[in-house]
Symmetry: C3
Subunit: 139 residues, 3 copies
């Protein structure tokens, strides 16, 4: 059994952002030499997500609007987490809707994906350096 580990770093200019990282994940699989196995991709921060969906601008806008409706940023005072001096309680909630991680199958050295699957980093409290972990196991 082989394992491979890689980190991706981000520092978004906006509080919220949605970044397609599919090529970076496939690149890590290539580097790993693993042909058959599983690839875990997870946010290492608790106010961000890794998820799989479509790379379509309208949909990214829909996600952003919908998450803001389900867990609004303002007013800050509605969240007890923000009593600690933070202003990112909403980001911790949004991340739970979108999820922390994806596990993807690796088959013949490739992400074993349907036609529209793309891996995204979802940032809900950006403007600082944050990381994603890629861990691949297989052979």
């Amino acid at each position: 059994m082989k394992t491979y580990r890689k980190e991706l770093w981000f520092n978004t200019k906006t509080r919220r952002a949605y970044i397609n990282i599919t090529d970076e994940v496939q690149g890590a699989i290539d580097q790993s030499g693993i042909k058959e196995g599983l690839c875990l991709v997870n946010a290492m921060h608790i106010s961000a997500s890794v998820y799989i969906n479509d790379d379509e601008g309208g949909l990214l806008k829909d996600y952003d609007d919908w998450l803001e409706k389900l867990a609004p940023h303002e007013p800050n005072s509605q969240y007890r987490h923000n009593d600690t001096g933070e202003d990112n309680a909403d980001a911790h909630l949004k991340r739970q809707v979108m999820g922390r991680e994806v596990a993807a199958a690796v088959t013949k050295g490739k992400l074993d994906f349907g036609p529209w699957e793309q891996i995204f980093y979802g940032e809900f409290d950006g403007r600082r350096r944050k990381r994603v972990l890629i861990k691949i196991i297989g052979e």
Copy 2:
């Protein structure tokens, strides 16, 4: 280490549907010959889910009503994704609540489940052929 891969195909008659696929997944584990490991089951389409919960008709109705409340199908015009000519933006949102995938433990050749765990395919934009991927690794 062994790996095994199988696809399940669906073509639901209704836009939304909830289908118990536990027996198909256990069947794939049987075919794989893997006794100890992990079994990934994921939707290969981005407007569908694989999730684990109860096979009880009332609950399936509750999920359906609740998802429709969190991310209503109508009016189509509320979603920017639908400006592309699609009418399934809501399905992409519903799928995020229910999740893309499950990872299940395989122990002594069986799905290592609690008493009520059942694996479901959740369809949110059906009436066409769509797939689920089963990937098992272990030995």
Copy 3:
């Protein structure tokens, strides 16, 4: 390849509870002797979650309030699942928002985590004995 399996048991005094189980999961990794691999941690019951987020009291309150807003416990009569005599339909919904499971990377024998990641058992229908499964694969 090695595998390791362990169950954690809970019996919360309250209907809903959020319990940090990070040390127990790391303890299982230690016992397994696995240095590189993946660690699956999942609720074995369908009205509970395992998720990763911050161990901060204000945030736990925010999660609890938010989940109650998204899927209120009362009135019981709003849920068809409760027609079966249950009163926990809301718990099945809350669990879908927070998720069933986490898959964590194991690197050099440790949970490969960012600075604030903590694993939680989220109970939404407690006051009875319920289980979490830890399954580790690797070498």
